[in-house]
Amino acid sequence: MAEIIQNEGGGGKHQKKRAKKGHVHMDMTPMVDLAFLLLTFFILATSLSKPKTMEIIYPKEVKEDDVKTKVADELATTLLIGEEDEHIFYYSGKFKPDSTVLVQTNFSKDGLRKVLLDKNQRINDQVTILKEKLLNKEINDSTYARAYGKVVNDSLAPFVIVKTIEKSKFRNVVNAIDELNITNVKKRAIIDMGESENIAMRQRIVELGLKK
């Protein structure tokens, strides 16, 4: 441990007699203990509080008609987010009050993700190829970003409209956006639910016997 080696000097004749000095030992154990305690604390404390964020870009103003005119019916999927966590439904194409059937879904691996992966298969395949190329260093980051943007904004890429009511919970909206990110659906919009869809959703909730 701490050893202070005293210089014995040249050992000449003129040296005065000194008190005998050997090695001075100092017990450093408590200090070392403390140091490692602090170290442990700071290591644990720093890694725990790292918030992550999810980027969402809102358009200037979305009106339902805008979305409708832009999107071909067969590419559109509408996700309805109700009040409770179970009240998540989707339908494809255009909403027809009499014939559209709302399908209940959830944000697990086998829920909405499966549906969206299915619909977005072609684009996901392309993205996978791009990712592989990136991993094999065939292309660089900026090329990848450009190519990725091109692929996901393909004119035939599916479009997902997320519709919320006032009482929709924020976590469900975030979950929905997260699923869209995972499945590479970049064409999306978040808008308020129309009256007719809201009525259809309430009916469906009663039909399925879900908690209101």
Binding site: M1, M28, M31, V32, A35, F36, L38, L39, F42, I43, A45, T46, S49, K50, P51, K52, T53, M54, E55, I56, I57, Y58, P59, K60, E61, I81, K109, R113, T164, I165, E166, K167, S168, K169, F170, R171, N172, V173, V174, N175, I177, D178, N181, I182
Partner: protein, 225 residues
Amino acid sequence: MPKVKMPKGAPSLDMTPMVDLGFLLVTFFILTAKFRPNEPVIVDTPKSTSELALPEKVILVTIDKDGRVFFDLTGKEIKKAMLMGMLERYPNIKLSQETVDRFAVLGTFGQPLERLDQYVKGDEKIRAALDKREDAGIPLDSLNNQLGDWIQEGYEAFMVDAQNKGFTIAQLRDKEGLRYAIKADGATDYDKVEKVIDVFRDKNIFQFNMVTSMESGDEVETAAE
């Protein structure tokens, strides 16, 4: 035959390098650690698979379960300048220089401007009591849109500061610019979040960072496939 002599006593081991390294690491972690300023509300952010870190220069709007809105901005000097701007905007509110200085180090706050003086001057207990009030939170209705004013003043103060520091427009667009983050509780009603977003939209701000917490690792794995 002479036997090999075993050294007597405890073997001594030179621990100096280990201790040096230990202290080096301690110093590193102490210096890099940023203590979280105490937050007026506890917000349970939703989980997501996103791995984007919270930007460094950010206007952070926190929305709690009941839809009350809190505000924060990074940078002490910018915060001071922002508050001065607010005082100009609301001439009937007067704050002493000392209060302004103290406000700059407070962190997230969520009080209407009329109660800010009391809030900043008060001690922990008074602040906690004020934060518990149902009518705490920054007003954002169309008649009394203080949130919009805070955002405006915060942005202006930030831009003045950036100019003084000599950042170029390209830098501001890239990493040095001001970002807008919304930290809402998972159980917040979406219309409350939407109201805040609408305030931002009025200011022509459309890109947000929603603060989320990390989802467990294995789930991300399966998602990537």
